[in-house]
Symmetry: C2
Subunit: 342 residues, 2 copies
C-alpha cells in the first residue's frame, strides 16, 4: 500500500506457534511444562507502587549482574533484551546496512530472515545436509553476519563447538550463536568469547527457566559490541516486573537444574518410545523433537491430535513437511500423547 516501504509491503511476516487457551495440551511452542521457580512468584508479591509508576532501570543493572554471574562473563559483556528476539533486532540494526547480507542454514529459526528483510538486508540460505549437519558452503560465506541456533531450531540438532570455532576463526563475519535451547544440551559457546572478538551468544529465560511470558533474553559478547548495541536498544526495553522476576528465577539454581533434568529425561524416553513405534527421530539436544511418523501423514496426525485437544507443530515447508515438531512436556503429558498415537 501507499506510504509503506516496499520491503514491508512484500514481507512475509513471521508466524508464531498457534496461541491456544483453555484445557488443552500445548506442545507446539517449546514452552516449559513446569512452573517457574517459586522465587518468581515471590518477586511478583513484592512488586510495589514504585515498580509500576516509575520508569524501569534502563540497562537492567541488577539482572545484568546476575546474568554475568550465571554466564561467567563481565557485566559489560551482557545486554538484556525484551526476549532474545529483541537482541536479534539490536544485532541487525547495529551491524547491518542495506548493502550487507546475512547467512543462515535451512531449516532454522525463520525470524532471522524476516528481521533481515525489515532492515532491507539480503539473506543467503545454506540448506543443511540430509542429516541436518552444516554444509561446507556455510563456512565460506562472506555475509557480514552469520546466524546459527545451537541446538538448531526445528531440528534440535547440536552442532559441535569445533564448527562454531571454524566460523569464528575465519574472522570475516560476525558469528551469532543463538542458544535459546542450549541449557537442554549442556553445551555453550560462551567460553569461546575469551578467544573470539566476532562472536555474539544469545540466551533466554523463555524455555529452560519456564518464563516465556515475561520476555527476557540476553546478548553476551565483547564489551565493544555490547556498547554499540546499547546505543541501538530502546531506552526502556525491559519492564521493571520482568527484570525482578528474571533476576529471582536465575538465582534459583536448584529449581532450574531440577526441571531441566526432568525435561531431558522425558525427551530421552519419549524419543525412544516413538522410535520403537517405527517413527524416525532426529536426535535432539533441545526441549522438542522433530519426528517423521509412519503409517499416516504428519498433517493428518496433527489434525487428529488437535481434535483430541493436543497441539503440536507442523511446518508446511519443503525440508520439514514430512515431519512433526513436538515440544517435551511432563512424563504424564507425553504418556497421554503416546497412548493416542498408538
Amino acid at each position: 500500500m501507499k506510504w509503506v516501504r516496499p520491503q514491508i509491503n512484500n514481507l512475509q511476516p513471521y508466524v508464531p506457534g498457534k496461541q491456544v487457551t483453555g484445557k488443552v495440551l500445548k506442545l507446539n511452542a517449546n514452552e516449559n511444562p513446569y512452573p517457574p521457580s517459586p522465587r518468581a512468584f515471590s518477586a511478583l508479591q513484592e512488586v510495589g507502587s514504585d515498580a509500576l509508576r516509575l520508569y524501569p532501570d534502563a540497562i537492567a543493572g541488577k539482572l545484568r549482574k546476575i546474568a554475568a554471574e550465571v554466564f561467567d562473563v563481565a557485566t559489560e559483556q551482557t545486554i538484556i533484551g525484551n526476549g532474545s528476539d529483541d537482541v536479534l533486532t539490536m544485532i541487525i540494526r547495529t551491524f547491518l546496512d542495506p548493502e550487507d547480507s546475512i547467512a543462515i542454514v535451512d531449516p532454522t529459526y525463520t525470524l532471522y530472515e524476516t528481521l533481515a528483510a525489515i532492515q532491507g538486508v539480503k539473506t543467503e540460505i545454506h540448506p543443511l545436509n540430509a542429516d541436518y549437519t552444516i554444509p561446507e558452503s556455510f563456512f565460506k560465506t562472506k555475509s557480514k553476519v552469520v546466524f546459527l541456533p545451537n541446538p538448531n531450531a526445528q531440528t534440535g540438532t547440536l552442532f559441535p563447538l569445533e564448527l562454531v570455532e571454524r566460523l569464528c576463526n575465519r574472522n570475516i563475519n560476525i558469528v551469532v550463536i543463538d542458544e535459546a535451547y542450549a541449557d537442554f544440551a549442556g553445551v555453550s559457546s560462551i567460553p569461546l568469547l575469551k578467544k573470539y572478538e566476532n562472536l555474539i551468544v544469545l540466551r533466554t529465560v523463555s524455555k529452560s527457566y519456564s518464563l516465556a511470558g515475561i520476555r527476557v533474553g540476553f546478548g553476551v559478547s565483547n564489551s565493544n559490541f555490547i556498547s554499540a548495541m546499547i546505543k541501538v536498544k530502546d531506552s526502556y526495553n525491559v519492564n521493571s516486573i520482568s527484570q525482578l522476576i528474571a533476576a529471582e528465577a536465575m538465582h534459583d539454581r536448584e529449581h532450574f537444574n531440577r526441571i531441566l533434568g526432568k525435561i531431558i529425561e522425558t525427551r530421552e524416553w519419549f524419543s525412544k518410545s516413538l522410535s520403537d513405534l517405527g517413527w524416525k527421530i532426529t536426535p535432539s539436544a533441545a526441549n522438542f523433537i522433530l519426528v517423521e511418523p509412519v503409517n499416516d501423514s504428519p498433517e493428518s496426525i496433527m489434525e487428529k491430535l488437535e481434535a483430541a485437544g493436543i497441539f503440536i507443530r507442523y511446518f508446511n515447508t519443503p525440508r520439514l513437511n514430512d515431519k512433526l515438531r513436538i515440544s517435551i512436556g511432563t512424563d504424564e503429558q507425553m504418556e497421554v500423547l503416546l497412548k493416542i498415537i498408538k
Copy 2:
C-alpha cells in the same frame, strides 16, 4: 569501531532522565506521583504459572480491545507497543527508507532524531518560535514523516487541533501526533482519524495511568497502517503481565480521572506560585512545567535541589539551557520544593 555501522558509531544515544533510587523526591522524568489503580495490583495477584511459562498473546488481543474502547476506535485501528517508544520504532521501520527524512520541531522529544539516525534517515529540524509555537516552515516540509508531541515534550505547550489538521490536510506526509501527555490536556487528535488517512496517534499508560514501569503504549491509526506495523513489530513485544495490568488499569476510569484531576490542580497552583516568585512559566498542558528561574542559574538551582534530595531536569541544549523542567508531584511534594526554592 570495526564491524559497527557508521550511523551507530556516530550516534549520540538518547539520554533518559537520571535513575535515582532511595529516599528522594523524583521530579525529573514526568512520572506520576500517585499509585496506579488498585486493579493493577489485583492483576498482579492473579498472575499464575501459565502467564509466566507460556508465550504472551502476540497481538495483546484483550488489551487491544480495551484500548479501542477507551479511544473510541475499531480494534483493528490499534497496536500495542512495549511502551510508545516501541511504536515510534515500528513507525520508523515501517515507513522510512534511508533516502527519506523526518521533520520535527525544536525543542521536542529528542528520541525521534535518534531513532531516525539508527534507521539511516535524516532529520529536518524546525526551531519553534520564541513563544514555542510552530513555525510556518513546519507546514511546508516534504519529509515523509512528521513527528509532533501534543502537548509538546519539554515545553508542555498544547498545539491547537487546527494545526494538526493543517498538517494532515496537505496529505504529503504521515503525521505522527505523540500524545504521551494528552490526558493532562484533555485534547486529542484521535477523532481526526475519521477524516485523515495519513495520521497516527500515539498514547501511553506511562504518565496518566502511573504505569511507566510496565512499558505499554499504543499506536492508533487507520487499519492499513496498523497492519503494516504489525508485520514489523517484534512477535511477542509486550509481556503477559503488562498486558494484564494495563487492561485492568484502563478499566478503572474512576481512579484514572481522580489522579488526573489532582495533577492538573497541582500543576495550576504550583505554576502560579512560581510565577508569584517572579519565575517565568511556560503555560503547560502536561504533567510538568518548564520554568525560567530568577536570581540564580538553573544549573545552580538544580545542584542545590539535588543536594536536598530533589531531582528535577535540566537540558544543557541551546533552547532550554536557561530553564528547568519540573514534573508535577503531589501537593505535599510541590510544597516541599516550593519551600526550598523560597
